[in-house]
Symmetry: C2
Subunit: 406 residues, 2 copies
């Protein structure tokens, strides 16, 4: 797909109080940025959401503990190895990395949060990481966004960044985020690795609430393959360096800030889908007129995760019967199919339990030939509505995931 997000020609704004660096430490591959450090100003408000996978990775449990214990100053992120399924030894490995960095930086080990992504079930090559730390620490730079976004990539084909600089109440504030992820993606309260930085002043409880709301409408609404990673993390860090205090803003200024913050999250989340493993289509599934949000999501995810729908999308085949079958099996209680309407783009396809009278295959084909496809289901049961984003299932998805470790 064309690089219509993470567009490198767009400006990435620095965020006061944030410095970054990335180096090649050779964790899994040579000549590849695979170790990233983010430094945050003292007293930043930092909020995180983490995978709900019961087999959460060692760095996830360590990061959660450290986040509770102290005011975080560093994110240390490696790719190539997820340090997951590694038991107690993995926890000690993650802690060792934090300790080594804290000694260099003159902070407590608990002020370092570790993140890992890559292959599950292999011990982290700690010595390689540790040897690279001095160079990593020395090269911290307030503009190294592209290097950091590149350094957290695994099967991603391009770095994902989103950035805004806005003026609120006369003060300029930045919001810049980076994210990685293109497979094993179905977030459950958090997702993949994503880091959003802003130089507004946020109280901790407000940071938590803003992160939760933003994630709920972005990373928690995407799916590539229904698989939830053991290492998902999404962090929001607010350094307060712009001097703007969120708590002192009018409601309308707060709303403006929230809107921009959510836009950064959405841009990162949909960017993951556009770069999903093997993806040739960007698919928006909206389910509306439902009785509850839950049933709308249930139908939307059943469509978005159906291998048959996804292969039809890959083939640009207006085989809408597969969409209809997915709606029918989604488990909505007492669904009256006579009230259900199915659209491809603006084209009404199915209604009254059958083909729409005006539907013609050529019209369906025109919609399916597009790279961005919108599927809308009206359930005719109420006023709830939900949207999820997904990709198609292509030969390349199989190739990438059958070859990943070889």
């Amino acid at each position: 797909m064309s690089a219509d997000t993470g567009d490198l020609s767009k400006e990435t704004f620095d965020v006061g109080g944030v410095r970054l660096s990335a180096v090649e430490s050779g964790i899994r591959y040579n000549n590849r940025l695979d170790l990233v450090l983010v430094e945050l100003a003292e007293n930043s408000a930092i909020s995180g959401v983490f995978t709900k996978n019961a087999f959460c990775a060692a760095p996830v449990s360590v990061a959660k503990q450290h986040l509770e214990a102290s005011s975080s100053r560093y994110f240390l992120i490696n790719t190539g190895n997820a340090n997951a399924g590694t038991g107690e030894a993995g926890v000690l490995d993650a802690e060792r990395c934090c300790r080594e960095l804290s000694a260099l930086a003159g902070v407590n080990a608990t002020q370092v949060l570790p993140f890992s992504t890559g292959v599950i079930g292999e011990r982290l090559p700690v010595e390689k990481l540790v040897s690279a730390l001095p160079e990593l620490y020395e090269s911290l730079d307030s503009s190294a966004w592209l290097a950091a976004a590149t350094g957290i990539m695994t099967t991603d084909t391009r770095p994902k960044m989103a950035s805004k600089r806005i003026k609120i109440a006369g003060t300029s504030v930045s919001i810049t985020g980076i994210a990685k992820g293109s497979g094993m993606i179905k977030p459950d309260m958090a997702t993949m690795l994503a880091y959003v930085f802003t130089d507004i002043d946020l109280e901790q409880s407000v940071a938590n609430a803003l992160l939760h709301d933003a994630v709920e409408q972005s990373f928690n609404r995407i799916t590539v393959d229904g698989d939830t990673s053991t290492n998902d993390c999404c962090m929001l860090a607010a350094t307060s360096k712009s001097g703007l205090v969120y708590g002192a803003l009018t409601q309308s200024d707060r709303d403006q800030y929230m809107l921009e913050l959510n836009a950064v999250f959405s841009e990162l989340a949909t960017g993951l889908i556009r770069d999903a493993e093997g993806a040739t289509k960007f698919v928006t599934v909206t389910v509306c007129d439902g009785a509850t949000s839950e049933e709308c999501l249930q139908v939307a995810y059943t469509i978005a995760e159906s291998p048959l729908v996804k292969t039809a999308l890959f083939a640009s085949d207006p085989n809408w019967g597969r969409i209809l079958a997915a709606v029918g099996r989604a488990g909505v209680p007492d669904l009256d199919i006579g009230n259900v309407a199915i659209y491809l783009g603006d084209l009404l396809i199915a209604v009254n339990g059958g083909i729409a009278p005006a539907y013609r295959e050529e019209l369906g084909q025109l919609e399916m030939d597009k790279e961005d496809i919108v599927v809308t289901i009206k359930l005719g049961r109420g006023s709830a509505s939900e949207t999820v984003w997904t990709s198609d299932l292509s030969h390349d998805y199989v190739r990438i995931n059958a070859d990943y470790r070889t």
Copy 2:
């Protein structure tokens, strides 16, 4: 995969009171058996389970009505067109076919049950079917099992049959079944098209109970892609022509009969998986030591339907981290990963939340190189156990489903 089920060298036993035929009616393709008729002796006990998909196909609703209304004498089955998503017109089409056949056979239209499988959302070419009915009716034969099993195939690469002849209480009884299906397979109380015939005498309530139990342990334990068809049907017909009366048997003779009946269902169900679209592996997922059957099934299906697990299976890659991640996201409440053990075949892979100390990649590779792979998860929470069968996700799955209509 090798044709290790549906083995055509195995004998298929005729069932007293059952005759079959298959013809080429050109519904979708030429030179292909696509219309099948089964005739059942008068007063046979006939039981059916049908898809729970809310968008159930027209023939499914007609078959359910007819089954309630009278004693069925004929199953009329077509492939190439599912007559699903066709609204009221589709119901009229299905009824027309039943009426035309009933006129030929001298029975009531409600004594004919219609079944369709194939593309969803197109009108059934009724005239083609109707013109083929006389030849179909004339060619009824008590030995035409292979033709019938072939005539119900869609993307199946081979016919599926299972057959037993056993002696119970001195009387010889036959159980013979045919089935089709290799994609859009995750049954919900019923599955695909499957027909099992026996010449024992069964009361209706017993037929219902035996069918329900057999399906629960066979067709309701398989998944290819998690997609439930709009046209799933599974029928059991007992003609009583052997003279053996189930109700008069001792408990031990009943148990023997049940065992053989269940074996026919299992052979048909696992036969579908062995011929699943693009399948190169036959995968058994057993989850045991669970607190409830429900949580065992939840974990088993999460593994069996994970695209990442399935692509690793296709690659023969012992990437067991993906299995572990699937267990972790299955949603078992308060799962203590310290008690979970994961096996490939007899090889202990993960324990205590991490890699088993004795595990070596070469040993995992040996297990993954096999064509029949057994994954066992011990949850360490109780004594419930469940098994499901599935296939891998290959390039051919994508090719078949991206090309299906073209």
